[in-house]
Structures are given as structure tokens and as C-alpha cells.
């Protein structure tokens, strides 16, 4: 088992952001985490990656309890996250940005920069290497976020909405890249709202709603699940939909 999160809970004041949520990710799979806005998906990611400590529950990664470890230690163990709100090193070029990641395994500056070029090539970013990160388009920044994370040679990659804000043609471009990353042996857990991507990419999906894990299965199973439909569309929506399809 690559990742096992058990009974994670987090509250912010009176708000319960995540409530007793568990999930497991097997090595070599692409697993999606979906749910309505504000369900607690990103909070779950921040707890798994060590940026926030859960109030309850444990996180096991690659056979080790990482619940209380710092983000940089978790990254060194092979679990790297991206940020939903992209966090480029704005004043640096694309190459320098990626090199911050490659430095984890390359002490020498020149080696890190060369490794950054290789990473950029696999993601079709070679033409942008010398551009300052702040000049990139949204699509470019999202891809840079992915490139930097990949540069740390993760075993498990946590992708937080790397397709949000992209136009369909850009989504169509990035989907095969993510699949290629998995095919090279990187396990992937992704938060995504673009259902086209979830359906075509993921082997299984978890659904989080109001902090609780309400469904788990193949993407097809999950989107047909009445509880999931209600979570997205409101109470009674599943029945109403069913009635309408029968009437039609």
C-alpha cells in the first residue's frame, strides 16, 4: 500500500473541515478525490503532505507513519504535492523554478539545471525554459507546478486541481502527460473538478462531501451513486433525476 490515511479529522474553530476521512492508494494507480466546493479536499491534502497536522487519525506512506513529519521530510521520503493556487517562484525563470525541485537529488547547480531541462522536455515546456515564471499563462503555471513536483522524483504525487482554469484543448493535452507520469511508476492521487479528466484518467475515485468520505469505487460507480448526486445537487436530487428520466 502506497498511502493509507485513517480517520483523519480537522476542525478550524467551530467548523469541521474534515471528519473521520479515510482513503488508501495502491502503488501504480491513479486515484481521484472529488467532491463539491468546500468539501475539505484540499485540507485533506494539506494533512497528508504535512502542511497541517490532523486533529485525529494517522497517515501512513510507504510503510511509515508520516502523520507528524514536516513537509520537507515527507517530500524527501517521496511524497510531493502541488498547490491548487499555483505558487511559482515568480522572479525566477522556468528552468530555475524546476531546478529547485531537481536540487533534492542533485547537489551541483549545473546538474540540477540540466535535470530541469529534461523534466521540462517531458512536459513539453522546453520552449519556456528561459521565461520568468510570472510571464506564464495559467496553463503554463499549472504545468510548471506539475514539473516542479515531478522534479523531486516522487513515488506518490498529490495533484491539487492541476486542470482547473484550463480550456478543453489544454485539458486534452495534459491528460496523456499525467498518464505517462503514472506509466513511469509514479502513483498519483488527484483532486479534480474536470470530470472528463476524472473519468478518463482515474482507476478509482473517492468522494468527499462536507468533510466526510461518502463514496468509493470506480469513477463510473461513483458518479451513479445517489449519495454523490445528492452531495452535488442537493437533497432529493437523485430521486428527482430518476423520475425525470423515467418520465422522458
Amino acid at each position: 500500500m502506497m498511502l493509507r490515511a485513517e480517520g483523519l479529522g480537522k476542525r478550524f474553530g467551530g467548523v469541521v473541515a474534515v471528519d473521520d476521512a479515510s482513503l488508501t492508494v495502491q502503488a501504480g494507480r491513479i486515484v481521484a478525490l472529488i467532491g463539491p466546493n468546500g468539501a475539505g479536499k484540499t485540507t485533506l491534502f494539506t494533512m497528508i503532505s504535512g502542511f497541517q497536522r490532523p486533529d485525529s487519525g494517522r497517515v501512513h506512506f510507504d510503510g511509515q507513519d508520516i502523520t507528524t513529519l514536516a513537509p520537507h521530510t515527507i517530500c524527501k521520503l517521496g511524497l510531493t504535492r502541488t498547490f491548487q493556487i499555483v505558487q511559482p517562484f515568480a522572479g525566477l525563470t522556468v528552468r530555475e523554478n524546476i531546478a529547485v525541485g531537481t536540487h533534492l537529488h542533485h547537489a551541483k547547480r549545473s546538474a540540477a539545471l540540466n535535470a530541469a531541462d529534461d523534466i521540462a522536455a517531458t512536459l513539453g515546456m522546453s520552449a519556456m525554459l528561459d521565461q520568468p515564471a510570472q510571464n506564464l499563462t495559467v496553463a503554463g503555471r499549472k504545468r510548471l507546478e506539475l514539473a516542479r513536483a515531478l522534479a523531486t522524483r516522487p513515488k506518490l504525487l498529490l495533484l491539487d486541481e492541476v486542470m482547473a482554469g484550463l480550456i478543453p484543448s489544454e485539458v486534452a493535452e495534459i491528460i496523456p502527460m499525467i498518464r505517462a507520469i503514472r506509466d513511469k511508476g509514479v502513483t498519483i492521487l488527484l483532486i479534480e473538478h474536470v470530470m472528463q479528466a476524472v473519468m478518463s484518467l482515474s482507476d478509482e475515485a473517492y468522494v468527499l462531501a462536507q468533510g466526510k468520505m461518502i463514496a468509493h469505487g470506480t469513477p463510473q460507480e461513483v458518479v451513479g451513486n445517489p449519495a454523490v448526486i445528492e452531495a452535488y445537487l442537493g437533497h432529493g436530487a437523485a430521486q428527482r433525476l430518476q423520475r425525470e428520466t423515467q418520465d422522458a
Binding site: H72, F83, F89, A90, E96, H106
Partner: protein, 325 residues
């Protein structure tokens, strides 16, 4: 290696080399004191630049490191009779220790941006009051080293030799800065300046890198304090730990170009040369140079966000060390 040297760097380097050689050939002896002063401030600026320029940690109290170096070498020589060269090394180590302590304490509690600026300023003030309160530190009178010229005593009979000594220290500081800039440590520092959360996510132990930077900056600022002590053979609490020295530490880099190798030196040279000329022209009204500093700073911040180096390197605009939560 893909880090091409920008031609602007070469231009600035030539200008600075010519300026550094002036005292040997054309500069009247009366200006040698100013030139040596500029070098001491340059070295202090080089120290500030490691943390403030590359790491984005805006210290308003670098005098605490400068003063620690100056006081430590003086006290070791006066009270323990230690050889000045050994005392200098020990003073640098002590200043590095002070930097480590302040850094570890501040970063442990996540102090950044203006909070870090305030805590450093507070430390400098505490040290200033302490230094003027104890007999061991000379109280309000400060400490004077007895005149004993000779290389073994790190005191130079010729002011030009003294100038050369400080110049070598500045060159060493610039070499260290260049090594930092081309190392993983430097890349990590810049990454932390640009976005600390992203740096953590990429496996950087940001606490450790920042504390190390404070230690290195402390050692260099301590060397500046030693250079000051061996040049003027005198320090008091106001000189060593006063806010004026803290501002000298950051004015050079900010005006010259924070986060560049040569910026701190360029800033110190321009600021003090033009400041001195302005003072001569207007007549030495006390405090006028501070008004002048303020004006220069305003103009630079408004028109050259990357400092004077921005003129030579082209404006690759750096958003000035955003402190995002």
C-alpha cells in the same frame, strides 16, 4: 553551465575595480578615511545581502551582528590578551552564533516580514543598552584598543595598508557571495524568498536554510565589525549597535540591488560618495546626509525597484519579496 554572466555585471565590476584602485593613485589622502569607511559599510552590506537580498529576510538590526564582532574582538584582546588575528576569528564565530540564535528564535516562531524586521531591531537595541551598561564592555565610554601597529597586531601604520586589508575582506565577501549564488544553498535561499510554502513542498528544510544564512551573514557582519575596530581602534554602543549602523547595512544593498553579488558594494560606493560631495557642496549641516539618504532611497524605490544594478542588468522586475501567509 547555463548561468551566463550578464554583460552588465562586467560593466559594474570594472567600475568598482577602478573605484577601488583610485586611493592608490589619484585620490587625495584626505579621502582615504571615507574610502575605508565605504569598504566597511560594503562588507556589512554584503552580509545583509545574504539574508535580506537572497533570502528575503528583511533585517532592520544587522548592527547587532556588526557590534558583536567589534566588541568581541576588542574584549578578547583587552581582557584576555588574545592575539588580534585569533580574536578576529573568534569574533566572527561569536557574531555567527548571535545570528544563529536570533534566526533560530525568530524562525522557530514563524516570524517573517515586518515581524522579523522588528525583532532584529529589538535585538540590536537590547545589545546597545547592555553594551553601555557594563564595565566589561566599557559602559558609556566604549572600548579603545591600544595603538600597536604591526601586521601581527592587525594594525597598520599606513592608512593605505589598512585600506588594502579591508578591501581584501570585501573581495573575500564577494567571492563567498558568488559561491552562495552558484550553490544549492543559494538556490534554496532564493526559493524561500520567492515562496516559502512552495519551497517546503519541494523538500527544502526552510528553517535550517534560513538559520544557516543568518550564521553566514553573522560571520561576515562580524568581520565588518572587526575591520571597523582595527581601523578606528574604538567602538561604543551607539556606533556598534546603533540604528545608524543597521540602516547602513541595508541601504547599500537596497540602493545597489539586493540579491545581486555586486549590488551592496555599488550601493555603498554611490551613496557615500554622492552623499559626501553633497555635504561638501552645501556645507556640513549635521544630519543633512540623513535627509539626503532618505531622498536617494525614495527615488530608487520609486524608479529602480531592483536598485542600481537594475540599470545595468535590464529590468527583470522582481516583485519585492512578497510575504504571503
Amino acid at each position: 553551465m547555463k548561468t551566463r554572466m550578464h554583460p552588465g555585471n562586467a560593466v559594474v565590476a570594472v567600475i568598482l575595480i577602478v573605484a577601488a584602485l583610485l586611493p592608490y593613485f589619484v585620490l587625495p589622502a584626505a579621502w582615504l578615511g571615507l574610502a575605508t569607511n565605504i569598504l566597511v559599510f560594503s562588507l556589512l552590506g554584503v552580509a545583509w545581502n545574504i539574508t535580506g537580498g537572497f533570502g528575503g529576510m528583511m533585517s532592520f538590526g544587522h548592527a547587532v551582528l556588526f557590534g558583536s564582532g567589534a566588541y568581541a574582538t576588542a574584549m578578547l584582546q583587552l581582557h584576555a590578551g588574545i592575539n588580534p588575528w585569533l580574536a578576529a576569528l573568534a569574533a566572527m564565530a561569536i557574531a555567527a552564533g548571535v545570528g544563529t540564535f536570533i534566526g533560530a528564535l525568530s524562525f522557530r516562531y514563524g516570524l517573517r516580514g515586518s515581524y522579523f524586521a522588528l525583532i532584529t531591531l529589538a535585538f540590536a537595541e537590547v545589545f546597545r543598552v547592555l553594551a553601555s551598561s557594563f564595565a566589561m564592555t566599557g559602559g558609556g565610554q566604549g572600548l579603545s584598543l591600544p595603538l600597536a601597529t604591526g601586521l601581527a597586531n592587525m594594525q597598520f601604520a599606513s592608512r593605505l595598508h589598512n585600506y588594502t586589508f579591508v578591501l581584501l575582506l570585501v573581495v573575500a565577501g564577494l567571492v563567498i557571495t558568488t559561491l552562495v549564488q552558484r550553490s544549492r544553498f543559494g538556490a534554496y535561499l532564493v526559493a524561500i524568498r520567492e515562496n516559502e510554502a512552495a519551497a517546503q513542498a519541494l523538500g527544502i528544510d526552510t528553517f535550517r536554510v534560513k538559520v544557516l544564512a543568518m550564521a553566514l551573514s553573522g560571520a561576515i557582519a562580524g568581520a565588518a565589525g572587526v575591520a571597523y575596530m582595527q581601523t578606528f581602534l574604538f567602538v561604543d554602543a551607539q556606533i556598534g549597535f546603533g540604528t545608524v549602523m543597521s540602516f547602513e547595512a541595508l541601504l547599500g544593498p537596497v540602493i545597489g540591488g539586493a540579491g545581486t553579488v555586486l549590488g551592496p558594494v555599488l550601493g555603498a560606493v554611490v551613496l557615500h560618495t554622492v552623499g559626501e560631495l553633497a555635504r561638501e557642496a552645501i556645507g556640513g549641516a549635521p544630519g543633512l546626509n540623513l535627509v539626503f539618504y532618505g531622498l536617494v532611497l525614495l527615488v530608487i524605490l520609486r524608479f529602480l525597484p531592483n536598485g542600481l544594478m537594475g540599470l545595468f542588468l535590464g529590468q527583470r522586475r522582481r516583485p519585492a519579496t512578497k510575504e504571503q501567509a
